[in-house]
């Protein structure tokens, strides 16, 4: 019954303690070695932290990244946005549908190339900047609460290099 309080992370810790040596790869796959698993776990934990903060102002997680890039440069095409945010075009379409529904952005067909659609922030979309940014800062602060400034920087650097390694993959 006390077992129900256990999380994967604690399991990781337990295994690390009770590890009874052996071949590095040949035996049981060690979950504490799984970078992918931990990254996914950390990302979800962070999402659980930030999500309600954004929701309090009527924004969702998936909209946050799009907003950041639009604040930096308004009027980008969907394709440009999906490349920047690094999600598929099809995913961007649905995210923008919801943002349009929520009155955060406006779609405008490009008259010079009618295949393209430029996305413009509405007043409401611009206004969210002042309320959302502090929430994100607070969320990040909470996540790095146990890290020194050096460690935080190093984590960002290491994550960046992991992303770089994964993105340059041949994909053959």
């Amino acid at each position: 019954m006390t077992d129900t309080e256990r999380t994967a992370f604690e399991v990781v810790r337990r295994r690390e303690a009770g590890k009874d040596g052996g071949e590095p790869d040949g035996g049981l796959f060690a979950i504490e070695e799984s970078l992918g698993y931990l990254m996914n776990y950390a990302a979800r934990a962070f999402s659980r932290e930030l999500s309600p903060r954004l929701a309090a102002h009527g924004a969702r997680m998936g909209q946050w990244a799009v907003l950041m890039f639009l604040w930096a440069q308004d009027g980008q095409t969907q394709r440009e946005l999906s490349r920047e945010v690094a999600i598929e075009d099809a995913t961007m379409v649905r995210t923008l549908d919801r943002m349009e529904r929520d009155g955060l952005v406006r779609r405008e067909r490009n008259p010079r190339d009618r295949r393209q659609i430029n996305i413009f922030l509405t007043e409401k979309g611009w206004a969210l900047r002042d309320t959302l940014v502090p929430e994100a800062i607070e969320g990040n602060r909470s996540a790095s609460r146990r890290l020194s400034e050096d460690e935080r920087r190093q984590l960002l650097d290491l994550l960046g290099r992991v992303i770089g390694a994964l993105e340059e993959q041949p994909r053959g």
Copy 2:
């Protein structure tokens, strides 16, 4: 047009280079400071790497974690599994539905407490261990390709501490 090749990660790099100083928090929220954004990005990049590897053997990402914990201890209840994997009960239900559909696990109502359901691996579920584990190892190797062994260990450690910080949150 060359712009369409840009990804968020490259944008991060560009901003880092051309950063024109200022207040640490008051001005434009700097995306390169966003730990949460980078963790989410890294997790998705990893998923794009591992997902097809697992799919080649008929398994999905969400099933991978469940399988790992079942291989370590077969016959756990759904509640125990969702605590370990650190996803909600409701999410576990659907993941197990798909795993049952795919013939990887079997549900068995606990006769001593009919509220509980114990999950048992099928032969097919057990067999996947030998094929899936090498794929996961290869995926992890690919993700940490550009890191030294020390750096890899440190990344795991830092992620663990971020998770710890986020999970002990008051949640009031």
